[in-house]
Amino acid sequence: MSVILETRELTKTFGAVTAASSISLAIEEDTVVGLIGSNGAGKTTFVNLVTGYLKPTSGAIRYRGRDITALQPRQVTRLGVCRSFQIPQVFDTLTASENLLVAVGIAARHGKKPVEEAPEDAAEAMLLRFGLDRFRGAPAGILPEGVRKLLDIAMALAVKPQILLLDEPTSGVSSEEKFALMDLVLGAIRADRVTVLFVEHDMEIVRRYTQRIAAFYEGRIIADGPTSEVLENPEVRRYVVGEAAVDPC
């Protein structure tokens, strides 16, 4: 499998604080990768760096071999790197349907319009795919948090990304609903074979849905590999999962 996104020695400092320290990560196409770590470990900083919201102090970001380090968020998005947000970023006064129409319209302007599909039809298809059809006429500002989260992700997918970065897709969602939500979200995203990189605190979610994990601690990656191996890593269990590593002696 070819590498779709690669970071090399990515570092970001805010004054004396190092939020990301020499992060080198290569994401292969058509995979689901989890980013785990405690609060302040650097996961969201990494997402913000990759999507152009923050500029790295040093290091490089490559998308399909092209250097995108200096690009603005909209330029990164147009290339095919999209994101959703921990706190849903939707257009509160517009209806769910209009939110998706905006996203579909932007995609169409950048040559990502499905052949002969009207924007209204494309938006409706996305509503159905995410099970949002019964909320189509409701302003996004009054929707429940879980629905806003789904809408936020649907908007990111409507822009037709090649790789989608999800920032804590299950935060604010009840434990009873989290698996159903992830089944729905990943089912919808993976139907287009979009590569997924998601930040998550819930290890059950990570274990169930990812093929690979990168574990962050104090701005650096302390483990990177297949999910089961990383979750058994003593350092990960100590600093990320929150369990004391078992001493064999």
Binding site: Q72, R78, C82, V90, F91, L94, V102, P119, M155
Partner: protein
């Protein structure tokens, strides 16, 4: 054939009603409606900006640029037709808006409002100091013809009225179509969440700049038509109170429909005329009181009355 939507139907009905009813109106009412519709064009541009989340206190700049551009058109045949003057006003104001927009598109909120006001006051300062343009007195504007009809006399007045009505209809219809297009839908999206718009791949600054130019063109055309209707232009057109009046009408009418600015503009002119007639020393108090009542009881503007009626009728 595609069915007409409600707004297009209302625009068409207003066009027919006004054109047919125009000859029946007394001279003062014909003048009042013409002047109101010309100013309504400026407010129509403000509607677009307010939907984008921007409140401009400087639309007087483009209003005055349009009027002065029309006033300075050569007195050659064809070029002194009211239509040519209006087009000149719109183009000149559009160019100025494109230039000012390079800076304005970077700012939001109070900074945008104050910068737009500052630009209009710079023009005001220049106009009052420029004797060749009549300084504080301004100068007269007279179109020789209106769509080929001699501008003088009753026919001429009706022709100016008809041109203004047709322009208001065309502007309203085109803006209505624009607001329903992809670019138009970006306006409320930008107002709600600029960050998200950027993260979906669109340039907020470009869209804001485009909307500023559209609003500028509308204000310029409105300024030119006001100049032709009144027959005189002066630097007051660029003064901040003129810009404030446009914002006043935009708030009074609401931003829910492209028809609202024209309705609001006509109502304000009527209110002002009657307040001035019956209370010449305190007419501002009457107008201010009306504004207060609208803000208290119709915070979404006069147009929201129609929305309430529709809900009641359902």
């Amino acid at each position: 054939m595609k069915r007409l939507d409600r707004t297009t139907f209302a625009l068409l009905a207003s066009l027919v009603l006004l054109l047919a009813g125009g000859p029946l109106l007394p001279e003062w009412a014909l003048f009042l409606v013409t002047n109101s519709l010309a100013k309504g064009l400026v407010v129509l541009g403000l509607l677009l900006l307010m939907r984008t989340g921007l409140v401009s206190f400087g639309q007087g700049l483009y209003f005055a640029v349009g009027a002065y551009a029309a006033g300075m058109m050569p007195r050659a045949p064809g070029l002194s037709d009211a239509l040519a003057l209006m087009l000149a006003g719109g183009v000149a104001a559009g160019v100025v808006a494109a230039l000012c927009g390079l800076l304005l598109a970077r700012y939001r909120g109070i900074f945008f409002a104050m910068l737009s006001l500052a630009f209009s006051m710079i023009l005001y300062g220049l106009l009052v100091k420029t004797s060749v343009l009549g300084s504080t007195d301004g100068f007269n504007v007279a179109a020789r013809t209106v769509l080929g009809v001699a501008a003088a006399g009753a026919y001429g007045r009706y022709a100016v009225f008809a041109l203004t009505v047709a322009t208001a209809f065309a502007a309203g219809f085109l803006l209505h179509r624009f607001l329903g297009s992809h670019l138009g839908r970006l306006a409320p999206a930008i107002r709600d969440n600029e960050l998200r718009v950027e993260y979906m791949g669109a340039s907020v600054r470009n869209v804001v700049h485009l909307n500023l130019v559209i609003a500028g063109i509308l204000a310029g055309a409105g300024g030119a038509l006001t100049g032709v209707t009144v027959g005189h232009i002066d630097p007051e057109m660029a003064y901040w109170t003129t810009s404030g009046e446009f914002v006043f009408v935009a708030i009074l009418s609401g931003t829910a429909s492209v028809l609202a600015p024209f309705l609001g503009s006509i109502l304000l002119e009527l209110l002002r005329s009657f307040a001035y007639e019956y209370s010449p020393n305190t007419w501002q108090l009457v107008v201010g009181g009306a504004m207060l009542l609208v803000i208290l009881f119709l915070p979404s503007g006069l147009w929201s009355v129609f929305g309430r009626w529709r809900k009641v009728l359902r």
